[in-house]
Symmetry: C2
Subunit: 243 residues, 2 copies
Amino acid sequence: MRFTSQTSSDGVTEQLFALGDIPGVLWTPEGAAGTRPLILMGHGGGRHKKEPDMVVRARRLVTECGFAVAAVDVPGHGERPMDERYDRIATENQARVEAGEEPAPLIAAFHALVARRTVPEWRAVLDAVQEVESVGAGPVGYWGVSLGCGLGVPFVAEEPRVRAAVLGLGGASASAGAAARITVPVEFLLQWDDERVPRAQGLALFDALGSAEKTLHANPGKHGEIPAFELDSTLRFFTRHLC
Amino acid sequence: MRFTSQTSSDGVTEQLFALGDIPGVLWTPEGAAGTRPLILMGHGGGRHKKEPDMVVRARRLVTECGFAVAAVDVPGHGERPMDERYDRIATENQARVEAGEEPAPLIAAFHALVARRTVPEWRAVLDAVQEVESVGAGPVGYWGVSLGCGLGVPFVAEEPRVRAAVLGLGGASASAGAAARITVPVEFLLQWDDERVPRAQGLALFDALGSAEKTLHANPGKHGEIPAFELDSTLRFFTRHLC
């Protein structure tokens, strides 16, 4: 892992890095030393590792919980080159939805395809970040909704270091099999009026989770309208399970 | 309103009272003076105003939030005389369920019947308790699940002083009409494996709530198995809306 920049402000140190061809960012408390809980965050579709709401969430996890937070760009997103295959599928899917097809199964199939690449990438990122002295091999959490849920469910299912996860805005059609293999506590966010993921699909994914402790937080509003108070709840959820 | 006893321990003053033939209890911070938020709590079926989990919840609302908390016995419960009519209906319902009828519509009809009496009772209790100097006419919240939801939905719908409510473990069949008239923020608790309220009924009641801000918290487990961390969430919810 190669660090390419480091800046600090308001108690948070932000380091950009590259692991092979994967660009990433690591946030830690300014002046941090020693092992601490680490949250890996997955960004949404068409977004990237440093979009504003990722940064806001990371800074609060660092300043209020003392955690380390890492995020990388998904292939075809952020600083990574366009991926012709993914691009072609996305364009085809767009056309199929405009022609009247249900978007949920198309989104699900696309997430499953990308996850075959991101699961090993993210496991390698975890290996590398836990080598950093101010992070260490402490307890790990995962946060991801929408694309970050589609990619996160198989990741959390396969990665035993993850001890708690916030997931949501995803449906059962792609992820139910992997979801059944998740056994760690999950806080699951569902938007009651989600225009992209049918309500029944979201409820079915929550239902499919194998975890003994799982808690569904459903709120009115569309896909992108998770209320701000859920970030407070996310901080408490990770504190409860990783500290 | 006539106070019949007063005791204090660990920072909480507990006063038993009677308003006409309604026995009640008021919890306030020890030595409290002046106006503060008030939570009215409704107890569950077959339970009473001072069952252990009511007391635990009240004490935390008092000590951690500085609120006043009041609860009264529902007719036919706690210190109130058996009610022959309610008893007869309950016995009949029990027999009908044992004969294979769905319990949800029977429970719903019973709650609707009792609510015609408890809504005016609770409004009178609110009038009286807000006259107490250490309570005053501050913002009011309501907490009630199961029977406390069946009776709470019509109460919250009709009582404009209630500015936020925690409800749950109830179904749409009795309460959907009144629920649509509720406009204050609601935190709604649903048990995913509720053996008494079918999941679809609970989801439909959450859906029916007219509130712009409503948040569903669903957890695995049966009717009586709400996880302890939801009490933490209840305290934060009321603090967010009443302080």
